[in-house]
Amino acid sequence: MTQTSPVTIATFIVYIIGVFILAGFSHRLLKKSSFMGEYFLGSRGLGSWALAFTFAATSASGGSFTGYPSLIYSYGWVLAFWIASYMIVPVCTMGVMGKRLNQVARKTGAITIPDVFRDRFESTSLGLWTTCAIIFFTTCNLVAQFKAGALIIEETFNLPDAWGYIGGLLIFAVTVVFYTAYGGFRAVVWTDVMQGIIMGVGVAILVPVVVIHAGGLREVNEKIRAQPPTLVTSQKGSFNDLAIEAVGDHQPAGVRYFHPGTTQEEVTIEWNTDPEASTREFVDIYLAAEDADSSTTSSANDVKAALESNASLQEVIEVKFAFDNEKFTSTPGKTISLGAPGAISLEPGAKPKTYVFVRGDEAIFGPGRKADGTPFHPFGMCLSFFVMWAIVGMGQPGTMVRLMAFKESRTLKRAILTVTVYFGMIYLPLVFIFVAARTLLPHIPQEDADKSMVLVATRVVADLGVGYQILAAIFIAAPFAAVMSTVDSFLLMISSSLVRDVYQRTINPDVKEKLVKLASYTTTVLVGALVTVVAMKPPDFLQYIIVFTSAGFAATFLFPMMLGLYWKGMTRQGAIASSMGGFLIMLACFVPNMLGGSRVDSFGVRPLVFALLSSLVLGIVVSKLSGPPPGHLVRKYFYKEKATKRS
């Protein structure tokens, strides 16, 4: 089993207690001011540091500290290009709409994003529609975030494989739901500040420790380049992955696992041994099966033995156990080899599982290569992801609502500068850390790559000595803090949507504050419980789910909001068309993919670009056709009385 030291666990628990204490202080403030404004928006009183860190921590989601490191580990330096848009994210996401959105929200007393839409366009239907969209995307995202939190708890507390994930999920859910429900927005912001500092400190310390431990970046790059072409099988199931290195002059293209389609008692191997062959052949591995209609039964150990006993492959490949198959005992640094006894199960009639050899150079240059041989970051992705982080970041309701909560313009300015420096300290250094981790923790299968941040902390840093174990706790707390800070703000967003937008503003405007309180607490807890149940069957690759929901948010919210703030000609009909159009086109592009087909792409550009463009065009065209907008709305939001008139 993985062993995290007691010191690390104790430090981690102290951190969790700190979060609860902050929630307690925040709860006391709820009694001193208007409940709704304080619980969901902190009474519009955020200062520079609070705004900066709550913004940064909410942006730096579980994806930043689990999905992103796992991708760096898998594909190398190309991730610096993938994340490059963050160079201008803070000024884009906070500067383009921040001041204006804050002003418009103040004019009407809006507390939530649907509030802003409802008041700006005097449209209840737009308010309700945006509420539904928030609930849909936020719930999808929360499932992925809960998975990330559960994985961190499972690894940190050495929970047994049999129930570790569920146990971790329950601990995470109870912690985050309790402090969010009890403390409200202010607790979320305060914990964001604490978590933001922890994330920054964690990365700042992790960079020199890991990079120096690996021998320096230059040395790391040379080691990676010198690695033989390698593949790590990534099969579903435990202890059934192998790391295979191509060590001979005549290199195969990769390996393929086949169902034999008939009764077969042992693993058999087929490979074209002709070194003069014009194309590199795959090593085809036919697994054992009881008959044509049953799943294969071979273990990875069987495959390893078959490959090693094949005379034609002995000088060609070297088979090792993947990282997960060699775990640390209670004595740090001492390993026991568990081998790979897990079954490789292929269903009858299933397509062969293909894995290609990836050269070390492919982690230094673009486009990176996936285990199945397809490029990781082709041209269309280059375009899409640069749009993704900066432009899509502007359209996230979770960040927009923070722009409604700051005290004055100066607060926003200082926060932008703080976040600019902060992101520079986080995102590039993470690339350095996890490129270096490739040489320290080789052969992590892609299925387990989501754990790479925690593995670096528990296996690399803590093993350096007792003094480093407290640091390890900080490193583990960093991704955990990132996940918590996203989850808490999303939980609050859903409950505010239901309580404020649906109940108070649509069903019962005269509701008493006591009932609002009860409804807010209850809704937050119920949403948390629902997401926990869904997350018990976790999805794979967090980052992709987070990307989908972020893109969906932007397609639905960005242009209706931006045009509403900056274009006098925007009408209610235009806003509805822009929001619904973006949402539906986003879904339409993804539905074929969800049904098992290919995603709708053109030139490799992701659906979000089409959805965003459609949202923009629909907003303008429908507004032109349905305009002009009511004069009193234009006057209210775009004009003020002349100074001479007032005097």
Binding site: W77, R100, Q103, R106, L217, V220, F365, G366, R635, K640
Partner: protein, 128 residues
């Protein structure tokens, strides 16, 4: 809007200032986008899309066959000797540093510290 009413009103300065600042920021984003994507794609990729349609006809028309940009791994250098591959250093790290400078210019020079007003609820509380 009625010209009579319009003569009594002026454009909201927060709207005007915010719009000006937003335009500058979005222009900066476009510059970053064009530079970083083109620099990294043309200088840091071992293999480029063989099919011109994959990058769009315009790119193929401007640059010709992209395979001529395929990077030779042995040409790798490390600017300043800090171990960051050259294409990442010039394509990402350097513009990132410039963007930090831009953000400070935006904050300290371009940004207007406008008075944001108060919400109806705050006004009510102040009156009470």
């Amino acid at each position: 809007m009625d010209p009579q009413i319009e003569s009594e009103l002026e454009e909201d300065p927060i709207f005007r200032n915010s719009l000006r600042e937003a335009r500058v920021i979005l222009s900066a984003w476009v510059l970053c986008f064009l530079y970083t994507v083109s620099y990294c794609y043309l200088n840091g990729y071992l293999v480029h899309e063989p099919n011109p349609a994959a990058t769009g006809p315009a790119v193929a028309h401007l640059l010709g066959p992209l395979q001529s940009f395929d990077r030779d791994p042995d040409s790798l250098t490390y600017p300043l000797g800090i171990g960051i591959p050259d294409w990442i250093f010039y394509g990402v790290v350097l513009p990132w540093m410039i963007c930090i400078g831009f953000s400070f210019w935006y904050g300290l020079v371009l940004f207007k510290e406008d008075e944001l007003g108060s919400s109806p609820q705050e006004s009510t509380e102040a009156d009470e």
